[in-house]
Structure formats: structure tokens, C-alpha cells
Symmetry: C2
Subunit: 296 residues, 2 copies
């Protein structure tokens, strides 16, 4: 049973004529007759009575007609829906983001994108790098915002922006008024850091290592806002990226005087993964939005 056979069948039923049906379907009449006969053979009985010059549905034809019509409609609906899911900028976009990027970067991006494409249904998953990579590989997220080009070669990294790193000090810290600072100068201060699974902990530790400094860690957390609070309370110092800097009365942010004190934020996708048009568009939206923001 083939699609064109159903089309021809409906055409004959509707025009009550093989000749007119053939015209409507833009095929020669014998071709159409053949296909109808083939269909009749498959179904084990005639669909039409051929009575001299009139053609009429048999009782089997009568029960078959609505089903054939339904199938043709469903085919059209399926084709249309599929095409629409590609051509219109609608459908699901699931974005992953690490906790040290999500609250500072995503809200504005999503807001501007949603304003342009209100049909897109955006969901966000916040998780640490390792687990985001798993989710990418399982196609549970379409795009992931992460820091540093990934070493995994089944993933692709699109850099968005590089941002400078800052030392965060209590307002009354001896270096709080400086325009910039070397990490070496903070050798004696107790450190507050993110937990082990956060990639920014690694970034910070890397900086310390470059400054030949092994920090005394007195507090670990999962979010910068806790660090800011604790630093403000005088518990110690820390390192944060530029996007986490915020005006506070109890903390000072001092630029780290090291040209390598940078964090690169980018979008990661799974290689070989086909992105729908919305998903692709969201990626391009983020890239174009952040071009302007790349500080250098």
C-alpha cells in the first residue's frame, strides 16, 4: 500500500471517474488504473464498480475512503509540523550553564532572545562542567555555557568572551585601595574558594600556582555570593571573574596584575549533533551579543 495509491483512490472516489482523477493527479489514465488495481489486489477485493460509464464505490470502497483520507491528512500534518519545526523559530532550547556563569551572563541573553523569538521555549540547567558534559553527550542539553576550551574532542567550543580576574578583599584590607595587585602580595591571607567540582576553583588554583602560592583554604562553597558575604565579613580573600564583580560596601575588587589572569567563557555543543533552527539561532545570538563585550 503506497501513498500515491491512496491519493489516486481518493481522487477517483471524489471525481467518480478514472479519467478526471488522472487529470487531477497529473498522471495518465492507464497509470492511475494500474495503481487502483494494484491496491484492490492488495486489499483482496474491488474498491470501485465499473458500470459502463459510471464509476462507483463498492461497500469496501466506502469503508476504505474515510481511512484513506485520514491517512493523507495525517501525512500532510506530519510533513507540515516537521517542516514548521525547522522553518519557524520555535521549539525547545535547553541550555546548560555552570554556576559561575549562569546568574551573571544568561539572564540578559535569554531576555533579549525571548523578546526577539517569543516562540522559543527555553529551559536552563545549572550544573558543574563535568555533569554538563555528560548532559551534552546524552543530548539532555543542546548548548552549554562553560569556561575554558574543553579538551574532550567529541565536543566543540565556541569562545564568547574573555574576562579579567579580580582579587576580592575586605574593605579594610591593607591592599583594598590599590588599583591592581599581584597574587604574591596575598601570600599570607586565608583563601575562600569554590568547591572542588567547580571549574573556577581550578582557574583560581592555577593562578596561585603561577604566583608560587599555596593558599590556605578556610571556606568552600558553591556560589560567589557566599564568598562575597564571607569576605565582607573579614573571613579572608578570594578571586572572582569580572562578571561576578558587584558594588558592595564591605568588599573591594582589585584587578590582578597578570596578563594571564583571564577566564574564557564559551558555548559548547556536541559534535555531530544537529541543532534545530532555534537552537542554532540561540547560539548565534549569544555569539553576536558577546562580541561587543569581549573586553580586549
Amino acid at each position: 500500500m503506497e501513498v500515491h495509491q491512496l491519493r489516486y483512490f481518493c481522487a477517483v472516489a471524489e471525481t467518480a471517474s478514472f479519467t478526471r482523477a488522472a487529470e487531477r493527479e497529473k498522471v495518465a489514465q492507464p497509470s492511475l488504473s494500474q495503481q487502483i488495481m494494484k491496491l484492490e489486489k492488495e486489499l483482496g477485493g474491488r474498491l470501485f464498480d465499473r458500470l459502463g460509464r459510471t464509476v462507483r464505490l463498492t461497500s469496501m470502497g466506502k469503508v476504505f475512503l474515510p481511512r484513506a483520507r485520514a491517512i493523507l491528512n495525517e501525512l500532510k500534518a506530519a510533513r507540515d509540523e516537521a517542516a514548521a519545526s525547522q522553518s519557524t523559530l520555535s521549539g525547545p532550547v535547553c541550555i546548560g550553564a555552570i554556576p559561575t556563569v549562569a546568574p551573571y551572563f544568561l539572564p540578559a541573553q535569554i531576555a533579549s532572545f525571548s523578546a526577539k523569538f517569543p516562540q522559543a521555549s527555553i529551559t536552563v540547567v545549572e550544573d558543574v562542567t563535568a555533569r554538563l558534559m555528560d548532559r551534552l553527550r546524552a543530548s539532555l542539553v543542546d548548548l552549554a555555557l562553560m569556561a575554558h576550551p574543553t579538551r574532550a574532542n567529541d565536543l566543540k567550543f565556541f569562545p564568547l568572551c574573555s574576562e579579567r580576574l579580580f582579587a576580592i578583599l575586605p574593605k579594610d584590607h591593607r591592599l583594598a585601595k590599590r588599583r591592581n595587585v599581584l597574587l604574591e602580595e596575598l601570600r599570607e591571607d586565608p583563601f575562600l574558594l569554590l568547591r572542588d567540582d567547580h571549574c573556577f576553583r581550578e582557574t583560581a588554583m592555577e593562578m596561585c600556582k603561577r604566583a608560587r602560592l599555596s593558599p590556605r583554604i578556610v571556606f568552600e562553597t558553591g556560589q560567589f555570593s557566599s564568598i562575597l558575604g564571607m569576605v565582607g565579613a573579614g573571613m579572608g580573600i578570594s578571586i572572582i571573574p569580572e562578571m561576578a564583580v558587584e558594588r558592595r560596601s564591605d568588599c573591594s575588587f582589585v584587578l590582578i596584575a597578570d596578563e594571564n589572569a583571564l577566564r574564557t567563557v564559551g558555548v559548547v555543543t556536541l559534535k555531530g549533533r544537529f541543532l534545530s533552527r532555534v537552537q542554532q539561532t540561540f547560539l548565534e545570538h549569544m555569539r553576536s551579543q558577546s562580541e561587543a563585550k569581549i573586553p580586549d
Copy 2:
């Protein structure tokens, strides 16, 4: 968009592998790949992500899958229903019958057929010959019980039985006790006949003509039972076929002594009309049932 493409698509979606899907669908893997690619091209986007060794639905694939499944199910249902309407002995049988046959012949036929094939849904239309022929030509009835082979060459006549004709006389008629009678002997009696559009009127008039008798008609009706009642009341005499004979205290039935005093009852179908299996079976049922009943 073709049926096999939908089948292949579902197979890949369900096995998560082109190779396994090809095995399941009994085609070579490249053939299947080609068809999927063709389908993807038609829909304007990929249906699957090919990620190294895993194959996974894209978001378009996810919306397309249930629709493809639904269509395949509908196809199967349509095929099954059509095949069932041919193979199982169910479905509509619309029988036409002339009023001078219907009440005497049909009830037993329908009862025995329904007992054997309770799935058949039988409807009966009672009408005179001319209108039954119209209904046959319009496919409003599938079979029609009529008398005498039809002259119309777009119809086909299957004889069922030939029955003798009887004179019906009031109990106190001078010939009421006879074993048989010649129509000539009834030359003086007033006649009761069916109305003009009933074919049995023609049969009766034919008999009169053969007996060189032009009957004086004193009553016309549409049914034998009225004639029986009126004859019983002594209004006159009439002619009826054997199947209309019934024991009555006020009438006598005397066989007409003419070897041509016969009425042939048969089934008529429209030439070129395809009968479903029930319809065909009903026809054969009637023919086999009445074989035994053909008097000669």
C-alpha cells in the same frame, strides 16, 4: 514521503541504529540510510544525530516519530478493515424485493442466513419492479428479488424457482371444489387484480390473454392479502402464485390447468457490480435454498 520511509524511520528510532534497523526491515543498510536521508531532505532537516556510534533523534525527529507511528498504525488498520470487510462475512447487504414475493419468500431466507452469519447486517427494500431496477442501477440495493427474467441488459437474472399459479375462488363458487380449472371457465367472473405497476398483474393478464379472456376488473390493490379478503367476501375471483396460497375458510385455491401457468422468481444484480463476500454469499444462499423448492 513514502510509506517505507516512515517504516525505516521508526525502525531506526526504535533500534537506535541504522544497521539493526536495516536487519529488522530486511534491507541493506545503505538502502535504509538513503531513504532516511531522502526523508530528511524532504522535511528540511535532520531526523537523527549521528554521534559516532550512537544514533539519536533530533528534536524534529522527536516530534515526527509519534506522527509516523500513528500513520503506520492507521495504514495497518485501514488494510485490516478492508481485508476484513472482504474476508469475514460481515457488512451490509441491501435486498430489494417486489411486494408479491417479499412477504412469502424473504423472511425464511433472511432468518436462515442471519442464523449462519449473524455479522451480516441485512436491510430490505420492498418496491415494484421498475423502481427496484432503478435502485439496482443506483447501487442503493445490492440484490433484488423479482419475477421473470429482466429484459434490461445491464442487469443479470439468477432464477430461483418457478411456481404454479392458482385461481382463487370464494368457498361457495361453482368451481371451488375442482382439482384444477381452465381460465376459460372463469370468463364471466369479475376479476380482482393488483395495481398497474405490479408485475404480477402483467403475469395474470398474460394468462387471461392466452385464454382469450378480457377480464372485468372490479378491484385493484397493492397486496394479495387484500385480494384474498375480498375474494373471501364474494366480490369476485383472482389469480395468485403458489407462495401466496394460505389455508382460509372463505376461499378455495384451484390449480390452473395450463402448463404455462408459472411465475419464475429470481435474483437480479447489476452487471459489473462487485459484490462483497457477504453479498455474494447471500445470493448463493438463496440459490441453494431454493433449489430444493423448484417444484418441477
